[in-house]
């Protein structure tokens, strides 16, 4: 496998559960060494896609390669070179961190188990907690332990399924620092997330809805592609204004962020009209560049309009 060939290259993937299409013709390409964000609402098919990529689920249709190996016929070989971190924490709470890692190392039949474990404990900052029962760790440390187990066998591709769900901001940032460190060493990472700050740390994001790829590119490209218009207001009475604006035609989202009120929509004229109708002169309005979360809420709304 040459350095330039993609780590993940799958096309037209299909998967149904009990006749219900969950993945509907998904084509996906992730370059080697990339940190790729995998986004989409709940139930959009992220977990199902990741499971198909590491051979835990068989696609009903489509195919392709993962690390140059065929998805359908070489799943066991793919699994050996992939580190998969499940959405739900799935190590043994009644074993210590070290015992869990040893178990994983034995299953991979690693040659130098002790050294590999020592190295990964050091790298993940888990050395002090090696003797602690995994079930007693806090969420952030659990996730680190899981990540340590995923990279123990030196995989070429990391598939991380919402690794930072329910973890505090500092732990999330540290976790992402680790992901970037690993990527620097040449690891390809596909990571699903609901956090916009995390999406912004990805080299590229892929947005999934209803089992289809909706948009992909760098955060900037995704924002630009949405052609969203955003206005921001400051001043007294924004709490009251936000309610009126939400109901106004053409306004897709209206929300208060601290001292500022942001509205977003596709139609600049409609937004301007809504502002004009409301304006009592106390708010100062200005157009601002849209943010990634504006874009994603916009896309979630487009997929399944909120009640």
């Amino acid at each position: 496998m040459s350095a330039s060939s993609p780590a993940i290259d799958v096309h037209d993937l299909m998967k149904s559960f009990r006749k219900r299409k969950v993945i509907d013709g998904l084509t996906l390409r992730v370059e080697t060494g990339e940190v790729c964000g995998f986004l989409g609402g709940n139930g959009s098919g992220k977990t199902t896609t990741i499971r198909m990529l590491c051979g835990l689920l068989r696609p009903d249709g489509g195919g392709g390669t993962c690390l140059g190996l065929d998805l359908l016929t070489e799943a066991p070989a793919i699994r050996r070179q992939v580190g998969y971190m499940t959405q739900q924490f799935s190590f043994y709470g009644d074993l210590t961190v070290r015992e869990n890692l040893e178990f994983v190392a034995r299953l991979y039949e690693l040659a130098d188990r002790r050294a590999a474990i020592a190295a990964v404990l050091e790298r993940m900052g888990l050395a002090d907690r090696a003797g602690q029962l995994t079930g007693e760790l806090s969420g952030g440390w659990k996730q680190r332990m899981a990540l340590a187990a995923c990279v123990l066998h030196r995989p070429k591709l990391l598939l991380l399924d919402e690794p930072t769900a329910g973890v505090d901001a500092r732990a999330r940032r540290q976790f992402w620092d680790l992901i970037h460190e690993l990527a620097t060493d040449g690891l390809t990472v596909l990571v699903s997330t609901h956090y916009m700050d995390e999406a912004e740390r990805c080299g590229r994001v892929i947005y999934l809805a209803g089992g289809r790829l909706v948009v992909q590119g760098t955060a900037g490209e995704v924002v630009a592609a949405a052609h969203l218009v955003t206005f921001e207001a400051t001043g007294p009475g924004i709490e009251r204004a936000v309610r009126a604006l939400r109901a106004a035609p053409g306004v897709e989202t209206a929300a208060v962020f601290g001292q500022a009120l942001r509205i977003a929509g596709l139609d600049r004229a409609a937004l301007a009209a809504a502002i004009a109708r409301l304006d009592d002169g106390r708010l100062t309005w200005q157009e601002v560049p849209p943010r990634l979360d504006d874009v994603f809420i916009h896309m979630l709304n487009a997929q399944e309009p909120a009640e």
Partner: protein
């Protein structure tokens, strides 16, 4: 690309061992509970109870009375407690303090001496016929001969004329009807069912329910290694329980071991295989431990009721026996009783050995067929 690996199986076993060690309570329970069950079934649940409390109301303290009482006591069915009056004895019977009331009339010895064959009234609490059944039967055998020795010579009867024929009931293998003898072999089969069927199906399903199975499937470990890794510890546990219960049964209850212990252990191995195949099948269907538990219970109840463990097999209607014949525990039970109590060898247990082998093959085929390598 990867065949079966003993190193990975060893890794699974090591993990199971660590988890078991971290949870010593479960291990202790699985070893202690069978012993408690043995004592419960062996001592407490006695289908042939003895030493039943019996009230004695005597208005005539004589040598005849003393002989009669000691004869009653000698049957070991009756514990005699003197009561001052018929009224207090009746009250005790009504309260359940005693199960029998024996009233000796005031002129008992006079009537006996005059050869008038007086009647003694024995009231029994009929509300529990099972409890008093054997005791009542023992009473029947008592009356004829007991006073003979004490009678004046003129009244002593000559040996009674022999009836044309006589039925001698002789309970073989367990002449004294000791319940423990019958219970222990059955108990071994029941205990093995619990530890191999119930515990393994729950243990494998636990990995699915907690999500660790997904993690295992994503790693190079083969499903067969996972399954064996979960199964082997419980086979070991099952054998440990068997040895413990058997040893206890021999030491405490004097259960004989007339046949070959090795043959018993090997046959039980086949029985364990049947249970594991069933447990594995359940664990492939069940999504939660609760479901696995319920399925195992579903298989466990008929094992108790229809195998001949609780009720004699011969007394069941045809359809129940048909179900019983399919259950591996029915055969395990007969084999265990046969080897322990009758000293049966391979030739005698063969009719019960091959049905178990057939069951293991069929259930094993179903389990393999249902076992999935993916999450589909």
């Amino acid at each position: 690309m990867t065949g079966f690996s003993f190193r990975r199986l060893a890794a699974m076993l090591r993990k199971e061992w660590l988890q078991m060690r971290r949870d010593p309570m479960t291990i202790r329970l699985t070893l202690i509970l069978p012993m408690i069950q043995l004592f419960l079934f062996g001592f407490a649940i006695n289908a042939n109870p003895r030493h039943l409390p019996t009230a004695l109301v005597s208005a005539d303290h004589s040598v005849y009375e003393r002989t009669l009482v000691s004869a009653l006591v000698n049957t070991r069915y009756f514990d005699i407690r003197p009561y001052p009056s018929a009224a207090t004895a009746d009250e005790a019977l009504r309260r359940g303090d005693v199960l029998f009331v024996l009233e000796i009339p005031p002129d008992f010895s006079r009537l006996v001496d005059r050869g008038e064959k007086p009647r003694i009234l024995m009231d029994a609490d009929g509300s529990d016929p099972v409890a008093i059944g054997s005791a009542t039967a023992a009473l029947g055998a008592l009356n004829a001969a007991v006073l003979n020795r004490d009678l004046p010579p003129n009244l002593r009867s000559a040996p009674p004329p022999a009836p044309p024929f006589q039925i001698v009931l002789h309970a073989r293998y367990n002449p004294e009807q000791i319940t423990a003898l019958n219970i222990v072999p059955g108990l071994i089969a029941i205990i093995l069912t619990i530890s191999t069927l119930v515990l393994t199906s729950v243990a494998i399903t636990r990995e699915r329910e907690t999500g660790t199975l997904e993690n295992l499937l994503a790693m190079p470990v083969r499903p067969s290694e996972v399954a064996l890794g979960k199964i082997i510890p419980y086979v070991g546990l099952g054998y440990a329980q068997t040895v413990l219960v058997l040893a206890l049964a021999v030491v405490v209850f004097g259960v004989p071991v007339r046949g070959s212990v090795l043959l018993l252990m090997l046959s039980l191995g086949l029985f364990i295989a049947c249970n594991l195949a069933m447990g594995l099948t359940f664990s492939t269907i069940a999504q939660t431990q609760m479901q696995a538990q319920q399925m195992a219970q579903f298989a466990f109840l008929p094992s108790m009721m229809l195998s001949g463990f609780l009720y004699p097999f011969a007394g069941m209607p045809g359809w129940a026996r048909a179900i019983g014949e399919v259950l591996p525990i029915t055969h395990a039970l007969r084999i265990a009783r046969g080897i322990l109590l009758k000293g049966n060898g391979l030739a005698q247990i063969w009719p019960d050995l091959w049905p178990m082998a057939a069951f293991a093959l069929v259930a094993g085929a179903i389990a393999v067929r249902l076992y999935r390598e993916t999450l589909d």
